[in-house]
Symmetry: D3
Subunit: 151 residues, 6 copies
């Protein structure tokens, strides 16, 4: 399918509108997004020493991401409210970053990449919040869709 | 002030908790965050041609970012609910990216960098949503605090 | 179908309750509501001169109305949460009023007139908010259902 | 004070923004809004017979209006979140209408007329929802500010 | 069916996750929960004299419980958002307690006992709030599932 | 101070209303509530073996309780929105129960016992949700205020 030449949310007059999904089929849809919180190596070391043994910092970020994914249509104005079958958030701590991924599954008339991206973004913001006292230079980066499936 | 050696949201047992802000002073606080949505140049050209004359795409993202900044404590589990005096979101469209900045002001016992970062992130997600039909490879990047003031 | 003689949300004891929609069919349903914000002609002239060229005032009200329509079941206690396929909000600026219409579509067990009315009402409140500094005598009026279809 | 010549929520470029209330004084503020749900006389008679003895219909609308007034900043994009000292909603049932009034009090940097108007609007929508099975021609009208005090 | 030996929300590493309900059937499901607010007999007498004739105290608690049941997935992190066909809340005032029950019905891939329990809990909290000025020793107790049906 | 003889939230006509807190002083206030989730000993053993080493089950419940305490005014209709300085939730796992306590601090015109009770209730509901697959007979009990301080 060639990339469309028109922004889907703009009508003929240039007004931003919701896309009408009434005619689309209810099918299985899955999307995975990823992103990372870039930190100083000292922040990662502190995290590994103080937070990771218990797991609570990652656990709080996971819950925040799951909750945010469920609220996607409330946060992103032109998104449709969708049922969600599963939201899974995983973390990988490397030397200079915490990698975040979020996979969302549903059977619905439209895809769930915005839910996955919202889950990653809010998990990253929550990690930022918990680490900001020790690191003023963190960045949230590379938030993107890595897989989108429908069948 | 040297950087603290301890993650502020972890108690002695490693449990993630809210920081008690009861003893902190109610003072003027301002924070500015920025970030960008990286797009293909063709996406930016389409946006400039179809969306920017009317301004609606950026307008929708601005409102989404403002609304999200007000909901920060509802999204980020260990944040405190704060009064907010102003939330301002600006955009700059360059060749390969839409740059987003969000400034938040308050008089409160704790800072508003999470509000500013949340405003940037949700504005970026909203732009992503409106452009995703024409560009599958966008990324949200460089979301960070650029200024934090208290007086 | 003759008009029922009983208030649908009251049980035999006069207690307000949710209607059980379990037995109703999932069918296509559309509702359109309209309403108007009555303003002084000077307010309309100011709006036409300062706000309408850019379109931002109407754009903000449109987004607020769409977001509110999605939150109908959260605002109106005895409404059911429904999936929504589309929410469209349009404005027409006349000499003494801004006319607002909102059309909502779904496939569900119950109709969406409350969603359409909520969209109109919150769009009107948002316009009121943005114009209230220049006009203290505005009124929101004639908020009503203009069409309701099921098939 | 002469009426301003500029829409307060538009900046120099015509962009809709939040007003910065940082410099405004924290003072006592009260606002009262009113509005009405116009119904067929038969609807009012049915309401008086079935619903008013127990009071539940008005009670549900009162709670919905109070809850909505507390959520004003979440519904109206450019409103500031405010503490609220009291929200009072009253009803008067006449021959062809249910009259609604909502009074909100606070000590804050900005007024509460949007909270009062939101309380009236959502109380009216809730009444509409409970009466819509017996009356398809109701209208919400005359939603306006009747008093605004600061001292 | 024997009771499972594994906590359903923990994955192999002990991380709390949402259960994937994608493979489960959409069937009719009903759950009833109950609970009680234990009060001093004098509180019950006051309630019977001042509040029960008009019914408003129980009416407010009923609406709060219904609204909370609709927000279950927003409150309980690992719950799925579900459509709900009906939420019914009933009260029985005895000598030392207000008994609360909540029945929720849906057609969905997973059960609604959390919705029923949330409805009971928030109705009980709302009653507590309205009675707390006269009784400092109330307790919410015996909140449990009394029936769960699927077919 | 003798116990009042009147339900504070009822006006002269028996209508439930918000209490006007405008005249009350902004002072330090703290409230602690507690409660317990009664489980079968086998559930507690399973929890101790599978969940407590990592801590995630309690961590999820803690976050849910903190988030709910922040939303108290959104859940309990006649509560006032309040700033909150700290919300702390603790657990103690005994042989037949998980004990939950929640302490909330603020400087405000009214107390925070409803916030503490809401934190306990939603933490308990979240634990219930995560354990319900292995134990159908759990109960939430003894949810009450254990300390309330103002100064």
């Amino acid at each position: 399918m060639p990339t469309p030449k028109k922004l889907s949310h703009l009508d003929a007059t240039g007004t931003a509108t919701m896309v009408n999904v009434g005619e689309k089929a209810v099918i299985f849809r899955r999307a995975t997004a990823s992103g990372r919180l870039l930190c100083a190596p000292a922040t990662i070391r502190l995290l590994k020493k103080q937070a990771l043994p218990k797991g609570d910092v990652l656990g709080v970020a996971r819950i925040a991401g799951i909750q945010a994914a469920k609220r996607t249509a409330d946060l992103i104005p032109l998104c449709h409210p969708l049922p969600l079958h599963q939201i899974q958030i995983d973390f990988k701590v490397s030397i200079r970053a915490i990698e975040i991924s979020c996979t969302v599954e549903t059977e619905a008339k439209t895809g769930v990449e915005m839910e996955a991206l919202t889950g990653v973004s809010v998990a990253a913001l929550t990690l930022y919040d918990m680490c900001k006292a020790v690191d003023k230079k963190m960045q949230i980066s590379d938030v993107r869709v890595v897989e989108k499936i429908k069948r």
